[in-house]
């Protein structure tokens, strides 16, 4: 007998006995505790900012028109020399003036691992939305914005639109109908990477980004 059938048989046997003892399959649990009082977008925005700021996430509020200027300013402030952008990014040309070098994530990782890990100062990615209660960004890495873009560079700049903020993770997945299909990878990111493994002292920037900057487009 294979391990699979042995395990499944033991489980099914026990489940059968349980059913035989009159234990009905319970109904799905009631998720009403996940409901929240309705909040307008501005309050959700504020909540998002408060929560993510507590874990060293930086929020810069801006508007659609000012977004590029805002990014340019930011790159200057952070002294970014080498910037990583998704392939075919709309700001590619405008931002070229603000940094020494722009790299596009347009090759398979195996071809340029070293460069990705060692040369890049910052990356810019989009987001699918945000979660107010936990101060989280929701990312679905894609062909254009692969998984490592939001992970390897020391500074991660993420663009979040105010309208895409939901009260909780539960609301978010309901709203976007996630149960109908998930991408190969989906992520919640809440602040720069951190650890407290050395005597509970909080240290930011372990293996992932040291800084997370959210450009909140209102």
């Amino acid at each position: 007998m294979t391990a699979r059938s042995a395990i499944l048989e033991k489980l099914t046997q026990a489940a059968k006995i349980r059913a035989g003892e009159g234990n009905k399959i319970p109904n799905r649990p009631d998720f009403c505790v996940m409901e929240r009082d309705v909040m307008d977008l501005t309050s959700l925005c504020n909540q998002f900012e408060t929560v993510i700021s507590k874990v060293n996430g930086e929020v810069i509020r801006t508007s659609e028109e000012n977004l590029v200027i805002c990014i340019q300013q930011l790159l200057q402030d952070k002294q970014v020399k080498c910037l990583l952008l998704p392939s075919a990014h709309e700001f590619q040309e405008t931002l070229a003036k603000s940094v020494e070098e722009i790299l596009l994530y347009d090759r398979e990782i195996e071809q340029w691992k070293d460069q990705l890990f060692n040369n890049i100062d910052a990356s810019i990615t989009s987001t699918l939305g945000g979660i107010a209660e936990t101060g989280s960004l929701v990312l679905w890495p894609s062909l254009e914005e692969p998984r490592l873009m939001s992970l390897v560079p020391p500074i991660h700049i993420a663009i979040l639109h105010k309208k895409d903020i939901q009260p909780t993770f539960w609301h978010f997945m309901k709203r976007h109908n996630w149960s109908q299909g998930m991408p190969t990878n989906a992520l919640l990111i809440s602040g720069p990477s951190k650890t407290a493994d050395i005597e509970q002292t909080l240290a930011y920037g372990v293996h992932g980004p040291k800084e997370l900057i959210v450009l909140l487009v209102e």
Partner: protein, 490 residues
């Protein structure tokens, strides 16, 4: 480490731990910190209670449907190109991982935190075939350098203070000796970066697996889990069969309970949901993903309605953070992969009661663990049950491996006599009055009870005798009262 436990080793290890003031101070301050962080994270206690009920229901629901959900998970994952393997024992799980490694010609494995990999002693086993496993979670990295095992399931290096870690990193990796957590973290980042790039396989645990969508969820703060599951060409995830949940929405209450119960965080930095290997045209991510499903005693718990509750656990460690025994003796004294209250109810099924007989007794049954457990596991009840199983006379019919291990010598005879005395009024009264009469024969010590406690003395008169006398006294008083009140009337 868990094999061939001597009979008294828990006692001797915990004694040694208690006599180590540094260790006790490290644990005490860490546990105090974790308890208050958890408390602050759940401001609204009524809301917490409702969330715990939901968490327990979600887990129980998944367990009731476990066989179907495992099949559904397997089907969904296979559709997306994930290879699913099943293992009944740690040996089988190790063999599966060895075979994958040989197949891809792996020399180096980079590991995210996984308690199940500790459970099967993966690192040592892979070394046998010349494959090096490197831990990348900072706490795990530290204890791997120290050649130790985790002393806590969430914070593996919690038994060490900053000075000890500074010594260790200086000695083993040659960095400057600075008692500065931030400096040391930065150094570890630099040391591990090249290893992420060079590794052939990334290995991780799984916090929740969603049957509905075929999704493996990982909870972490450092980013090492994401790197381990993204950079190497092969990703192997390993999980106990109980980790599955039915629907995607089921992870939301569990995630909220897990991070707040564990470290008081509203959420961890990363919540990573993996549903398959790199697709054509995608530029990163592993080319192949494997999932190893491990039984190792879990189907044993599944046979019994009460023991089944153990499987609800989401490994948050709140029970150990709040346990007065754990806080005093630390994680290593238990001598098994999972320490603290959860270890005491889990390890006997994994290793057998005969190997772990000290564990169910290493508790004062104070109930702190059950009070904080986010999925409402009645840990003290389960401890009592396992104590009973240790003395179970029907070894053959018991569902627990190693049941009846403590049933030997004259103890069962004494208890059956004890029961007999208590079953008849006459013999009971006779025995107790004899004991009261011959109380001067009582021994002066009752070891080991009197090592730490004063000796209880038999009373001059039995309780029944005293009650009888009291009744006589009351009756007499009542009569006197009647007599005087009659006299007054006259």
């Amino acid at each position: 480490m868990s094999l061939s436990q001597g009979k008294n080793t828990f006692q001797s290890r915990s004694r040694a731990a208690i006599e180590d003031p540094k260790l006790r101070a490290n644990f005490l301050s860490a546990m105090d910190g974790l308890m208050s962080k958890r408390d602050q994270a759940f401001e609204d206690k009524a809301q917490l209670e409702r969330l715990r009920i939901l968490g327990a229901q979600v887990r129980q629901n998944a367990l009731v449907k476990l066989p179907e959900l495992l099949v559904e998970l397997e089907t969904k994952l296979t559709q997306k190109g994930v290879q699913v393997h099943w293992a009944q024992s740690p040996e089988e799980a190790v063999d599966i991982i060895k075979a994958i490694s040989l197949n891809v010609g792996a020399k180096n494995i980079i590991k995210g935190k996984s308690m199940v990999s500790e459970e099967i002693h993966l690192n040592e086993k892979m070394a046998e075939i010349g494959v090096r496993c490197l831990e990348s979670d900072l706490g795990e990295y530290i204890i791997q350098l120290a050649k130790e095992t985790p002393s806590h399931i969430v914070m593996p290096a919690i038994h060490k203070n900053t000075a000890e870690i500074a010594d260790l990193l200086h000695e083993k990796t040659g960095i400057e000796r600075k008692e500065d957590a931030i400096y040391m973290t930065e150094q570890a980042r630099l040391q591990l970066r090249k290893n992420f790039m060079a590794a052939d396989i990334g290995l991780s645990g799984v916090n929740f697996a969603v049957a509905e969508t075929g999704t493996l969820c990982l909870v972490e703060n450092e980013g090492n889990g994401r790197l381990s599951t993204t950079v190497p060409k092969t990703h192997i995830a390993i999980m106990g069969i109980e980790k599955v949940v039915e629907k995607l929405e089921d992870v939301t209450p569990l995630l909220s309970l897990l991070t707040r119960s564990a470290t008081g965080q509203a959420i961890t930095t990363y919540f990573n949901m993996i549903s398959g290997p790199r697709k054509e045209n995608e530029l990163d991510g592993p080319e192949s993903v494997h999932l190893v499903l491990l039984d190792h005693g879990r189907t044993q718990m599944y046979q019994d309605d009460e023991l089944l509750e153990t499987l609800r656990c989401i490994r948050c460690a709140a029970c150990m953070n709040h346990c007065p025994v754990y806080t005093r003796v630390g994680g290593h004294a238990y001598g098994f992969t999972y320490p603290g209250p959860i270890g005491k109810i889990l390890m006997p099924h994994l290793e057998g009661l005969d190997e772990t007989q000290a564990l169910p007794t290493a508790s004062s049954l104070c109930g702190a663990c059950a009070e904080v457990c986010p999925v409402k596991i009645p840990i003290p009840d389960l401890l009592v049950r396992l104590r009973e199983e240790s003395n179970n006379e029907n070894r053959q019919t018991s569902r627990v491996k190693g049941a009846g291990v403590k049933r030997h010598g004259i103890e069962p005879i004494i208890w059956s006599m004890w029961r007999w005395w208590h079953q008849g009024e006459k013999r009971y009264n006779f025995m107790t009055s004899m004991m009261a009469q011959f109380r001067f024969l009582q021994p002066k010590t009752l070891s080991p009870w009197t090592h730490y406690r004063s000796l209880p003395k038999l009373a001059k008169k039995t309780f029944h005798q005293q009650m009888k006398e009291r009744q006589v006294r009351i009756n007499r008083q009542a009569e006197n009262l009647k007599a005087t009140s009659k006299g007054e009337k006259l």
